[in-house]
């Protein structure tokens, strides 16, 4: 966009001004995780390794961090894999196949995409009880996947719509089934879309708090956000370093994946997310 040559440093100053407080917060968290105590921005006692003791010993009655990490990985990867698979299939049908009620399906997906699924938590609790998946990782994976799926279908439908029809047509003429075409021709061609959706949903699930907090009770199946909340809830002020260290440990993988996947993600965020 033209025109940035003039006065660009004024705009830059404005941006740095509003961005600085947020950056300060993250910086402060990192410093806190490395010191026994912080007085404002001043560390009291430098380089405190004790903050990171959660790596080799359980904190109070809580499970070991590695159990929590494994649970979180299962939760985030499971959610992501389920959404990508289910959305890709549905999106292909909506984009490529003609069937009665197709317009209605698409409308429903769009409504659900905008619909705030969190408001259904009470009734979802009941559903989970009914199908016997309350207090299980599988249960929260299903809930998360369902809540994010409309977004996934909507995004991948766009990718399928953008594919040229010629190759699929040729395969159809050769007698390939719709399923084979979907699997061997269409899916490989929308790989960027699958990556984008996969990374995006992984990150959402990784950070998710309210769904696992509501539907997981036993600490054996805790995921990171619930673990950290339990820790932050009954820590003395002086032990903030420990809580901060867990926070850093928890956030770092997300930031790395975010940076590695930003090329795919940026197109994803245009598809819309909530918050």
């Amino acid at each position: 966009m033209p025109g940035f040559q003039r006065n660009w440093y004024l705009w830059m100053a404005l941006l740095l001004g509003i961005t600085f407080p947020v950056a300060l917060g993250y910086l402060w968290l990192i410093i806190s995780s490395l010191n026994s105590e912080m007085h404002g921005l001043q560390p009291v006692g430098l380089w405190e390794i004790d903050n990171w003791r959660f790596l080799w010993e359980p904190i109070g009655p809580r499970p070991m961090i590695w159990t929590v990490l494994a649970n979180t990985l299962i939760f985030a990867l499971g959610t992501s894999a389920l959404i990508v698979t289910v959305s890709a299939m549905a999106a292909y049908a909506i984009s490529r196949l003609n069937f009665p009620g197709r317009g209605f399906m698409l409308g429903l997906i769009l409504i659900l995409h905008a619909f705030p699924a969190v408001s259904l938590l009470i009734a979802t609790f009941y559903v989970l009880l009914a199908i016997g998946l309350f207090d299980s990782l599988l249960g929260v994976v299903f809930v998360m996947a369902a809540f994010l799926m409309p977004l996934g279908i909507w995004l991948l439908k766009g990718f399928f719509d953008g594919l040229s029809w010629d190759m699929e047509m040729a395969a159809l003429v050769d007698g390939a089934s719709r399923w084979r075409i979907f699997w061997h021709i269409a899916l490989p061609m929308i790989r960027p879309g699958l990556f984008a959706l996969g990374i995006f949903t992984f990150l959402v699930a990784w950070g998710e708090f309210i769904v696992p907090y509501t539907f997981i009770v036993s600490s054996r199946t805790w995921i990171f956000s619930v673990y950290l909340q339990s820790l932050a809830g009954d820590m003395e002020r002086a032990d903030f370093g420990l809580v901060a260290a867990v926070g850093v440990f928890y956030t770092l993988p997300a930031v790395i994946i975010f940076l590695l996947g930003q090329r795919y993600l940026l197109q994803m965020y245009f598809g819309g997310s909530k918050g």
């Binding site: 006065n7 404002g40 959305s87 069937f99 619909f115 699924a117 408001s119 799926m149 950290l228």
Partner: protein, 293 residues
């Protein structure tokens, strides 16, 4: 054949959207609670009248409206516009970096984000703001609404930022050049070239984020849990959630909670339908490529 492709998605939609919506309505007509799990009684509209006659109801309703309007106006639209416009006036690389940074709060878990805010705003000698201002107090207790709106807004702003940036980038260069030839100032560009083009994106972000804010209570729950004091920062969705899941009295009243949610669900459905209408749904349904099933 299409059925096979749609089956898994269909199962999820039925189990976690349609069933819960129906369930919400049904539960709201019963007195289901942890006290009578399994055999609740049908109580008709009792729950609704309980909600409507609650002495805190007007305050909670007012809070919800305030929360939605303030966050939307100052951050999800306001801050988002400021970032989108000003990053289009600075060199590309710096602009990309700053926009990327603003996505960071979105990928940070709410628990960690709230942790940062609590640390920054704690009383002295720990809190950063207390140290900087020399006034030692719990800033969250002193200004709960400001903190809540800020926290939600800093996360919410990135959605509008991305949408507005995309729209600004799609404005044809000639329009800027023509204005530049006329010697237009940058403020003129913003007011007369950029903002008029953003009318639809602004409407979209408003509608979409209103829905999200209507039901979002995560940050409020973690920051103040509706306090300090009686229902100072309680919003409707948090009220419903607490009624069902955080029972202070020992019995979680799912029926009552459902009645509170039912109102939200109806409003959300109506707004979703309006969004669908407004943003030309029919243009989105392109004909499928060939009809061989």
């Amino acid at each position: 054949m299409p059925l096979l492709f749609l089956l898994p998605a269909g199962v999820l939609v039925i189990a976690f959207f349609i069933w819960p919506v129906v369930n919400t309505i049904l539960l709201s007509l019963t007195n289901l609670s942890t006290a009578n799990f399994g055999n609740p009684d049908f109580v008709g509209l009792d729950n609704y009248s309980t909600v409507l006659s609650d002495r805190w109801m007007p305050r909670i309703l007012g809070n919800s409206v305030f929360y939605l309007v303030a966050t939307l106006a100052f951050f999800n639209l306001g801050l988002a516009l400021v970032i989108a416009v000003s990053t289009s006036f600075i060199p590309q690389r710096a602009a990309d970096g700053i926009r990327l940074f603003w996505l960071l709060p979105r990928i940070t878990s709410p628990v960690v984000f709230v942790l940062i805010i609590q640390g920054l705003l704690a009383p002295g000698p720990y809190g950063v703001l207390s140290q900087l201002t020399g006034v030692s107090q719990s800033w969250i207790n002193a200004y709960p609404w400001t903190v809540i709106v800020f926290a939600n807004g800093i996360i919410g702003a990135s959605f509008g930022m991305l949408i507005f940036t995309a729209s600004i980038k799609s404005i044809p260069d000639e329009q800027f050049q023509a204005a530049a030839v006329d010697g237009a100032s940058q403020m003129f560009l913003v007011r007369r070239v950029i903002l008029p083009q953003l009318r639809w994106p602004i409407l979209f972000v408003t509608a979409y984020q209103s829905l999200a804010l209507l039901s979002s209570f995560e940050y409020i729950m973690l920051l103040t849990n509706g306090g300090p004091g009686f229902y100072t920062t309680e919003v409707w969705s948090l009220w419903a959630y607490s009624e069902a899941f955080q029972s202070y009295s020992g019995t979680a009243r799912f029926g009552l909670g459902s009645a509170m949610v039912a109102g939200l669900v109806v409003v959300a459905l109506i707004v979703s339908l309006i969004i669908l209408r407004l943003f030309r749904f029919n243009d989105l349904v392109t004909k499928p490529k060939i009809e061989v099933n």
